[in-house]
Amino acid sequence: MESVVDLALLGLLAVTAFGVLRLRNLVAVVMLMGIYSFLSAALFVVLDAVDVAFTEVAVGAGVSTILALGTLALVGTRQKRHTKSPTIPLLIVLVTGGMLVYGTYDLPRWGQPDNPVHGHVAPEYLEMHVPLAGEEGEVLEVHIPNIVTTVLASYRGYDTLGETTVVFAAMVGVLTLFVGSRRPRRTRGSPADDDGEDGAS
């Protein structure tokens, strides 16, 4: 049953991604990206990654959509019809995709409990218990039953600190880009002038 839901959601994701590629109305593209985020969040729930799912809904479908819509309000919503030949990009994509698919044949099959990825530190994170003083049973070393939170905030806390630093750096970057952005557009010669000077040089 899990596999069936998984496959259905993956199929919907593929269709949505194709729609994102084909549409030229950028508002519709941003809306489809919101749908894409919700579909991938549903997929994460099926894949037991509930923390990733709600982060994706809050950040991917919420914040990203607002940022993209805000950008579209400033830059316009129509994409120009592209005139370049699609042959070379298509060739690059097909070759890259073909090599990646070839590479997957060396990967362990999906969802098997004896895959190498489950054998390293992950069981230790699940087994971090300390004996409960004076009583039967054990408690968790970090008193949080949600292992993802435990690893994120405690065992790999420095990763999270680095992540926060990246977000801070991005915020400073965005603010720096917008400071003084209300300057008038620079003046430029008309195309005819450019041609004339081109001939002179």
Binding site: V52, E56, P145, V148
Partner: protein, 134 residues
């Protein structure tokens, strides 16, 4: 091979290639950022897929009065480590996206367009103009 087998990974590759194609073939800068976003989400789906165990449950330990009811020994939990790594990736992804969109807005203010061929024409015209000046 069992039914799901490698299918997850193939769909991930398809999504990644759609994002890659949008990135390299479309001239609109917003479309390029969206393509980058598709690419990034496909990587996240790949990592989360590797952490899944069929028949497992979310890695939130089930507790009773005596503390925790067994670890991975009694209940089958999916691998929490890819989830943690991808939480970081999602947040960093939205930070880079905000940065990219801010750059797009500045490019629009400077050049009046967000189509890369038109921007390139203007840059070339500017260079010619500067070269013509003594």
């Amino acid at each position: 091979m069992e039914f799901p087998g490698l299918f997850n990974y193939w769909v991930v590759i398809f999504l990644m290639m759609v994002g890659f194609y949008a990135l390299i073939s479309r001239g609109n800068l917003v479309k390029k950022v969206v393509g980058l976003n598709l690419f990034q989400t496909s990587v996240i789906i790949f990592y989360v897929s590797t952490g899944k165990i069929v028949g497992g449950t979310a890695p939130i330990l089930i507790e009773d009065d005596h503390g925790v009811a067994g670890g991975a020994a009694e209940v089958l939990y999916s691998n929490p480590l890819p989830h943690v790594l991808m939480l970081t990736a999602i947040v960093v992804g939205v930070a880079t996206m905000a940065m990219a969109l801010a750059l797009v807005v500045r490019i629009k203010e400077t050049y009046g367009t967000i189509e890369d061929d038109e921007i390139q024409e203007q840059v070339l015209a500017d260079e010619l103009q500067e070269g013509a000046r003594p």
